[in-house]
C-alpha cells in the first residue's frame, strides 16, 4: 500500500469511478432531484420575505443564497459511507484490502470521479441562478471567487472525511447508517442548508460558527454571495481547513483502530 502504488493507480481509479458515475446516471439524476430542499426553502423564505426583508435577505438575496446552496451541495455531496457500511457488513471490504491501494484512497477516488457528473447536473441550476439573480446577488471580486474555489474543495474534503469516518464507525457498530442519520440532522439545521447562518439567534449562531457543518455548505455560499470581505473570508477559510486537518487525523485513527476489529464475515 505504498504511496507510489496509490499515485500510479489513482488515474485508473478515477477513470473507473467516472465510468461508474456515468453508468448510474439515471440514479444520479434522481439523487439530484432528491436534493430539492434548498428550492423548498427558497419558496418558503420568499414568502416570508415578500412583505419585508429578513435580516439582510430580500427575495433576491434568498434566491441567490439557496440556488448557490443547491449547487454547493451538488458538487460537494458524497455518499461513500453507504458503500463502506455495505463493504464492512458483508465482508467485501476484504477484497479491497487485498488490493495494493489503500481502500480509503480508493473510496476518495470514487468520490472525486463523480465530481464531473455532479458539476454537469448542477450546471443548469447554476445557469438559471445566473439568469435570475444576475451579477447583483454574487460577489464581483475575483479574489473571493478564488477563495470560493478553495472553500468548495474544503467543503468537499470535510464531507468526504465525515463519510469515511462514519463509514469506518461501521467497524464498531456493525451498521453506522443511523449515525449518519444523526449527523445529517445536525448538518441540515446547522450548515446553513435550511436557514442562513446569520438568521440564527445570536447565541446559537456563536455556537454554530464553531461547528464543522457551516463549513460544508454555508461558508462557500456566503463567500459567493458576497457576505464576507476578503479578510473575513480568509479567516473562515483557515477555520475550514483546520476542520479538514482534524478530519484527516480522526479518519486515520478510526480506520486503524477499526481495521483491527474487522473480521470479514462471509466474504
Amino acid at each position: 500500500m505504498s504511496l507510489r502504488n496509490t499515485v500510479r493507480a489513482f488515474p485508473t481509479l478515477l477513470r473507473v469511478g467516472f465510468a461508474d458515475a456515468v453508468a448510474y446516471r439515471a440514479e444520479m439524476l434522481i439523487w439530484v432531484l432528491a436534493t430539492t430542499m434548498p428550492l423548498v426553502m427558497l419558496a418558503l423564505w420568499s414568502t416570508v420575505a415578500r412583505e419585508a426583508p429578513v435580516g439582510r435577505y430580500g427575495q433576491a438575496q434568498f434566491t441567490a443564497y439557496f440556488l448557490a446552496t443547491f449547487v454547493v451541495r451538488q458538487i460537494t455531496g458524497s455518499w461513500v459511507f453507504y458503500d463502506i457500511n455495505f463493504a464492512v457488513r458483508n465482508g467485501t471490504l476484504a477484497m479491497r484490502l487485498l488490493r495494493p491501494v489503500h481502500p480509503l484512497w480508493a473510496y476518495a477516488a470514487e468520490a472525486l470521479a463523480a465530481m464531473p457528473m455532479r458539476i454537469v447536473v448542477s450546471l443548469p441550476v447554476a445557469i438559471v441562478a445566473w439568469f435570475v439573480v444576475g451579477w447583483a446577488g454574487m460577489t464581483h471580486d475575483p479574489f473571493l471567487w478564488a477563495v470560493w474555489l478553495v472553500s468548495i474543495a474544503g467543503s468537499w474534503m470535510i464531507t468526504l472525511l465525515v463519510n469515511l469516518l462514519i463509514g469506518c464507525a461501521a467497524f464498531f457498530l456493525e451498521s453506522s447508517l443511523k449515525v449518519m442519520d444523526a449527523w445529517l440532522v445536525a448538518f441540515f439545521v446547522f450548515s446553513g442548508y435550511l436557514i442562513p447562518i446569520d438568521l440564527f439567534p445570536p447565541r446559537l449562531r456563536a455556537a454554530v460558527e464553531w461547528l464543522p457543518f457551516r463549513f460544508q455548505i454555508g461558508f462557500p455560499v456566503e463567500v459567493v454571495t458576497g457576505a464576507h470581505d476578503r479578510g473575513a473570508a480568509l479567516a473562515l477559510l483557515a477555520g475550514q481547513w483546520a476542520w479538514v486537518a482534524a478530519g484527516l487525523a480522526a479518519t486515520a485513527l478510526v480506520w486503524r483502530a477499526g481495521l483491527r476489529r474487522f473480521a470479514a464475515y462471509g466474504g
Binding site: 432528491a34 430542499m37 428550492l39 418558503l44 444523526a182 440532522v185 445536525a186 441540515f188 439545521v189
Partner: protein, 293 residues
Amino acid sequence: MAGEPLPTSTPPSGRTSREPSRARATAVASRYARYARLLRTQIRASLLLGLQYRADFVLDATVNVFWTGAAILPLVIVFQSRASIAGWSFGEALMVTGWFTFLEGVLDGAINPSVADVVDHVRKGTLDFVLLKPADAQFLVSTTRLQPWRATNVLSAVAIFAWGFHLLGRAPTPGAVGLATLSMLAAVAVLYSLKTLAVSAAFYFVRVDNLTHLFDSVFDAARWPSNIFRGVVSVVFTFVIPLALMTTYPAEALLGSLPIRSLFGALGGAVVALTLSRAVWNRAIAHYTSAGG
C-alpha cells in the same frame, strides 16, 4: 399454519353469487381473523428483531428527538421575524409540524422499512419466498418490518400539539380531534398508496431505493403549511404528491378550520389512491419474473 386451507387471492365464495351470503360472511370474517392473528405475529417478530440491536434503538430514539427539534428550529427562526406567515401563526404552524412528526413516524416505522425490504427482495430474487407464503403478498411485505420504536414520534407529536395549543390559549374540541383523526387516516392511506406505487416500480426498474429517497426528500416539505408554497411548487405538492392533504388538512381539522368539503375530498382521494395502488401492485407482481438469486 399447516392445517389451514390454501387461500386464493379471492375468497372461493366470491365466484358464484348465488351462494348463501352468510357463508360468505363467515369466510370473510375468518379471513380477517386470520390476518389479525398474522399481524400480531408480525409485530411480535419485529419487536424481537428490534430488541436485537439495542445500540441502534438508543441512537434511533436520540435521532428521533433530534429530528423533532430540527423540525421546529427552522419554524422558530422563520417566525422570529414575523407574527404570521401566509395566514399561519406560530401556534397554528406547530399543528402542521406535529402531524408531520406523527406521519414521519408512520413512514419510517411502518412503511419505509418494508419498501426497502421489497426492493431488496426484487433485486435478489428472494421475493419468491414471500409470494409462496399462504397469505396476501402485499399484506406480508407491508407488515414484516415494523419498527415499533418509532412510536416515540407519536409522543413527540402530542408534545408539539400541547405546546401549540398552549400558545394559542385554547384546547381542541372533541369534534375537531375526531375530524383530524379521520383526515389523518386519509393521509396515511395516501402515503401508503404512494409508497406502494413506488415499490411497484421496483419490479420494472429494479433499483428504486433512490426513488423512495426522492420521495422522502419531497415529503420533507410537508412540515410547512401547504399554502406557503406558490407557483410550480404548489402545483406539484397538490397533484403529484398531495402534501396539503397529508399534514395541512389534519392540522386545519384540529384547529377546527378545515372545510368539510376538503375532508370528503381527502377521504375520497384516499379510497381512489388505495384502489389504484392495489391494482398497480397486482400488475407489478404479475410482471415479476424472479431474478433468480
